[in-house]
Symmetry: C2
Subunit: 841 residues, 2 copies
């Protein structure tokens, strides 16, 4: 009653790591048992050796070419020594892209055959049993891991395995237990139907694997995963994480668990976000500033928006924008920004606890990440370097920094290009269009600009991904782990800069560096920098965020995650076995079918997508409270989409043990730290929150916002226009304008210091900065407090760990006494007790 597969899964990574997989220079490891087990009536299709007894645990595939004559005798001895070195530090690579890239390392075919043979010899020495099968172009090496090899490996890894002894899991006091039971009952329909939840009150006692103990059986089947996980119809249910982990390994299990926690945590954020938005909708009619803007009686004449072509305009025409702005710029926004900062901390804490719980349930508590082994590429690089002269790593580092800076420069250039597009189109439209058309100009330009931004972001995303990979390969990092970390880091920097530069421009630079009437700032000769609409740039920031989030998710999900893989699959099938396809399809072996599935390229793209989304949700949430809702809707689909992909479309990934989500956690933490300061700046500088507050408490006569709009507008004497910039149609409004207004805090033309920043400007600037300091530090303090308040290890888990440890102590002591007793009565069978040094010396 012991499932060898269970052990095998856990040690699966260990065997190829400890052995030398440099063998698979052009092939890849193919894990069997993927996708729907076939009943064992047809022995030919069932993954067994020819004898029908020994089960296939692993299949290695490699490309076969016609054997050539060994024309280089000298290369053999050299390979042998190279091999010996690699035997000590065996590299792995499960990444087929890397394998493909390696084609350029010009190994000869016969060298490969020799290497393969040595490798197989090594496998045999490890105790593994093998069967070979060579087809037209692909060879399969089937491997069976016998029982005692599995046992040895498990014991060596001190693998914690469930023992027969079970113990009851307490749920604290009686009240807590009742609450727990109630919650269990309520969430019962949300639980996946995998027959695993019944025994939650009992947990098998885990103890490092030892050959003397017996274990319980744990059966799993992919069919359940397909029905209870990879289906859109059960989107409201929890995921069967335990099964996912058993089938795909801990690393994949942790990804889906993380995605689940994130999606779950988005629910309250989305609800609060919607409430904040609805609050904005409900109070739009009571909002004094927008009422003042819309009031026809406040006959305010504004200065022209562009040189010559534009003329004076009445503030009342900005009524619509002012009302819309209120939806996103009201008192509730500040509350929501604080809420989301704390939400991010809560999410991190919640995930830490969930991870700890999973570690406990999966018996990973005492698992230590093994040091990675050097990659084959690194070994090759070192070998090559010792042949040539030393190539300085400084050169690579400089190249890397240069390319990265270039990329960020390109991103900035693109943003600037879009700005120019907007400015020039605006001016052109102003000049030629009819008045009725002109009212729609702004909206049109904004939306097209946002869409152009989006398209550029999506294209550059792919480009940057490729560049980051290329740079990392150039660096030749020593281990797989450092390769992955460097790749992730570079990709993250580039993609993040790509996604957020246009948004940062809109939030903090747009409309701030325009100069003032009579002394505007010009770029590229004659283009004036863009102004914001009257009520600040928040509105445009919203539109950009909305389009980026929706568009990115829709296009990337549909096109890249569904469309492209299907296309690839079709291409692969057509290329390889076009003629035999139909006839072979029925008689194909399990491993042959699996061979035609798409390769598993790692979890990094999935994580990266989610982390950019997390950035959207937290970084600019002060300006777009609906972001969590959008993210939630996307993720509910994303989970099932990914699940489907894993279950039906990809080769089964090699199970990798992991205790945590690694560098991604660091990145998440970094984003939620940056989010605090970004939101502080959005509230105090992008929104009109602080000016309103200062007006109410320092300048307003009656403590209300009446007169606020007038207070924010400065005066400009139209005789001070620079020659050639005054409007062509000064009588456009039907009367002669002598003084027009513009949004800024500057002294009026009749003061001693005309057009200088006024005392109000400095007072409001001080208030804005003070708000940033207070907000940042208060929120950081609260986050730290929440972090400190919530224990990293859930209470019940720590109690259970304690209980388990006590039980192990008890078992151990009992065994000891038994041994001693047997010793005393003269039973000769057990091993001798530790003997005293004096008797040995």
């Amino acid at each position: 009653n012991f499932d060898p597969y269970n052990v095998f899964l856990a040690i699966a990574t260990n065997i190829p790591q400890r052995l030398n997989t440099a063998f698979v220079v052009k092939g890849h490891i193919l894990l069997l048992q993927s996708h729907f087990q076939i009943p064992p009536k047809d022995a030919k299709l069932w993954p067994y050796f020819q004898d029908g007894l020994r089960r296939i645990d692993y299949v290695l595939t490699y490309h076969v070419q016609k054997p050539q004559s060994t024309h280089k005798q000298s290369s053999k001895s050299c390979l042998c020594c190279g091999f010996k070195r690699e035997q000590k530090n065996p590299p792995t690579h499960e990444d087929p892209e890397l394998a493909a890239q390696e084609q350029r390392l010009d190994y000869h075919e016969d060298d490969q055959r020799l290497r393969r043979e040595e490798f197989e010899e090594n496998l045999r020495e490890m105790g593994l049993e093998m069967e070979k099968e060579e087809g037209v172009s692909v060879g399969f090496l089937k491997i069976h891991a016998p029982w005692d090899v599995l046992c040895r490996e498990a014991e060596f890894m001190k693998l914690k395995m469930p023992t027969i002894k079970k113990y009851e899991v307490s749920h604290g006091s009686s009240i807590a237990e009742k609450v727990n039971l109630f919650i269990q009952k309520v969430t019962a329909p949300l639980q996946p139907n995998v027959g695993e939840n019944q025994t939650e009150n009992e947990k098998p006692l885990s103890y490092p694997f030892s050959r003397e103990k017996m274990y319980v059986i744990l059966v799993l089947s992919l069919q359940i995963l397909y029905e209870q996980w990879a289906s859109y119809s059960i989107f409201y249910k929890y995921q069967p994480i335990g099964l996912v982990r058993k089938y795909f390994g801990e690393k994949v299990g942790l990804y889906f668990a993380w995605l689940g926690v994130y999606t779950q945590m988005l629910i309250p954020a989305a609800i609060v976000g919607v409430i904040v938005f609805l609050y904005g909708c409900a109070t739009v009619d009571d909002n004094i500033p927008s009422m003042e803007v819309c009031d026809e009686r406040n006959n305010i004449t504004m200065c022209p928006m562009c040189d010559r072509a534009c003329s004076y305009w009445k503030l009342v025409t900005a009524c619509g924008t002012a009302r819309a702005s209120h939806l996103f710029d009201n008192a509730a926004t500040v509350f929501f920004a604080i809420f989301m900062a704390l939400w991010a901390t809560m999410f991190m804490e919640h995930w830490k606890r969930r991870q700890m719980r999973l570690n406990y349930i999966w018996d990973l508590t005492s698992f230590e990440d093994a040091e990675s082994h050097p990659r084959a590429e690194y070994e090759f690089h070192v070998m090559k370097k010792s042949l040539k002269k030393e190539q300085s790593p400084k050169y690579i580092f400089l190249l890397c920094s240069f390319v990265c800076s270039m990329q960020i420069f390109v991103t900035l250039a693109i943003v600037f290009g879009v700005v120019l597009y907007r400015v020039s189109i605006m001016t052109a439209l102003h000049m030629s269009s009819t008045p009725t058309f002109r009212t729609n100009i702004r909206a049109t330009v904004k939306t097209t600009a946002a869409i152009i931004n989006l398209i550029i972001i999506i294209i550059m995303d792919e480009v940057y991904g490729a560049i980051a990979r290329w740079l990392t390969i150039m660096e030749v990092p020593k281990t797989d782990k450092s390769f992955e970390e460097r790749l992730i880091f570079k990709t993250f920097i580039l993609k993040f800069a790509n996604a957020f530069t246009p948004i940062v421009y809109l939030a903090f630079f747009r409309g701030r560096i325009i100069g003032r009437p009579g002394k505007y700032l010009y770029v590229m000769g004659s283009y004036r920098m863009e102004e914001c609409a009257h009520a600040g740039c928040l509105m445009e920031l919203c539109i950009q965020l909305c389009i980026t989030m929706l568009g990115k998710q829709l296009i990337q999900n549909n096109l890249f995650e569904i469309g492209v893989p299907k296309l690839k699959k079709m291409l692969r099938q057509r290329k390889i076995d076009k003629k035999h396809q139909e006839e072979l399809n029925k008689t194909l072996h399990r491993h042959e079918k699996d061979h035609f599935l798409g390769p598993f390229v790692g979890l990094n793209p999935e994580y990266m997508e989610m982390i950019i989304q997390f950035g959207m949700v937290t970084l600019f949430v002060a300006s777009f409270p609906l972001a969590p809702l959008f993210a939630l809707l996307n993720n509910v689909i994303e989970i099932r989409l990914d699940a489907k992909k894993f279950v039906t479309e990809l080769r089964r990934p090699i199970a990798v043990r992991a205790k945590d989500i690694g560098i991604w956690y660091t990145l998440l933490r970094g984003i939620s730290k940056v989010a605090v300061i970004v939101n502080a700046f959005v509230i105090s500088f992008t929104s009109d929150f602080i000016p309103r507050l200062v007006y109410q408490h320092m300048y307003s006569a009656d403590g209300t916002l009446h007169g606020f709009v007038n207070h924010t507008l400065s005066y400009f004497n139209v005789s001070h226009f620079q020659p050639g910039t005054e409007p062509m149609k000064p009588m456009h409004l039907g009367y002669k304008v002598e003084v027009c207004r513009y949004k800024d805090y500057r002294d009026p033309p009749w003061s001693a210091t005309p057009y200088e920043f006024s005392r109000e400007f400095w007072a409001i600037l001080a208030a804005r900065l003070a708000f940033v300091i207070v907000f940042q530090n208060v929120v950081m303090l609260m986050s730290d407090f929440v972090d400190w308040l919530i224990p990293d290890i859930p209470k019940d888990i720590s109690i259970q760990i304690h209980k388990e440890r006590n039980l192990v102590v008890e078992l151990f002591m009992k065994e000891e006494r038994g041994k001693k007793y047997r010793n005393t009565i003269g039973d000769p069978s057990p091993q001798p007790l530790c003997s005293h040094p004096s008797s040995q010396a």
Copy 2:
């Protein structure tokens, strides 16, 4: 060749924890072999049992009274059940103070005897051997742990022990190795002479303890510690941390290692601090603002410093203060504040690496902190509670919060009291003193106030310590660990508030809430709040910091750490054995002598002292660059002082295993985070750095500081004094004053808005706030970057760990093959290999 003591030390804590030490209600565990081993010629004094063969490992002591009749038969059965429960969760307490406090729990003497007997029975069942010796008032229970018990425990704990197999430790590339060798040669005279450093190139391979392996011997002697560690004459040498750990256990070893790293890191900080100070000294004559103040030709008349008694004064009289201020308030200060923020991060990182290195050297890498067991007091409390009705823990929590707030309120009140003292004395002196005496008034008052503050701080420190302990005892935390953490946390809050409230007042509140001439702020009826001297409050902050640091360290070191323990020792010796003392002194057994030493009360006071010092060094370093130097001088002495105390004056503490310094690290991190924001505020608000900068770039005609002093002074029309507050001697300076000056940015009396905050005020405020934001975020970013840049595990250690792991794999595989071979040729002796489930089912 195996030193049982070595194993024993490591498991020393485990045995009393797993057994029931509730026994020692009034006694304490006394660890033997402390202080100078006596050669074994005199068997009576050597720590052996009467048979002279079995060595004494542990001695438990308890108070003896005349046996009473067992008058309560019912209590026995009750105790039994209580005992059984405690057997499962056995509490420990090594703290004699707690034991003393427990006297109030009214156990009867005969109950205690019964408990002791049951406890001894348990010890015997564990396999320990005992010998009893009851004196007049003290009983000793000597315990010998036989070889196989030690082995069993060590195996159970998976104790990593050095094996015979050694391997060479590589030092990276050849250049790195040469540099290392060079460093070793240079630092050779700094190494303690303990004969341990020769074999640094080899390290014994460690592997979890198993009875089948043999170990190398490691001998240690206290004499070496006394000579090479606890001596002032070798203050410049490194500490022999390895020996300290072997003798006192990991926890004490880590404390001294930490103290060593901290002291070492203080050296560069002290050097840079002195350079910054010297820079101030060197540039004092080129400083334009102080030159302007000292220039007699700038005939500036200042407004009076107090009502009526004081008169107008000339700015030139503040010349000395202005020049002195420059020493601590110059451009280098900003650089030093940034340097110290990064220094704090470097220190934390450096410590993390050192800790990791020690973990590796001490074979703690796979050691997991065991869950603590409930304390005896907690068990007793729960028992009592179940007898009574449930007493709400909310009540305790409220009490605790209330007392803590009260304490902080008391601290504030004291600070306010000192302020009042200063204000009233100043006024009184002004009124009565002769002009010659008056010039020294300020300095006198400042210094006496600082000394009063210091005395109050030292007294309240002791009071707060006692209160925190009392509160924590009231809370009845469940485990020793949580007891300690709560105690530390409370003590930290109270002592920190106590030490820093006067300093915070001086830095941020003094001179800021004074109002303006004609509209001063009054407290307690007629006292005007204190003004700062012309050049800001930085000078006074310096004096306060200097006196607090010097005084606190001198008084606490000399009086509390040397004087009080000696006094206590004298009292103890006189009380217990006054009459027999001399005659017994020669014939006393080892354990009897140890019994008269002072008890070990934990490391918390030592850590607390250092952490307050760390606060002084980092928090206000912008205002006092000499702080690191003072701290360094203190710590060089502190290390040897503590060492002496541990070696000669205290009972040997029970060895406690620990991987890290626990909550102290969290507190250090917290302080270094707070330090960034505090320093940002000190630079921007307490010093005149920002006003100088703004003046130079916005208002100065020629970009220099000429005219700065005039710019900082506002005008006041003396006819606007409130009636009754004008000076009594308006002609004091010899001419009639119509307009006097005061330090603030306000509109002049002749403007449209007289005495309102001027545009300059708001501009400078905005600049100050912007500086805080920039400084905080830049420094935090740099700190995070440094944190990220320096790997937590030193490179050579990670290489060695990897190497060690590979060697273990090799050993294991070799053993496996050996086993299999023996199996094949039919050797019956080894245990059977793991058998296949099919053969067992």
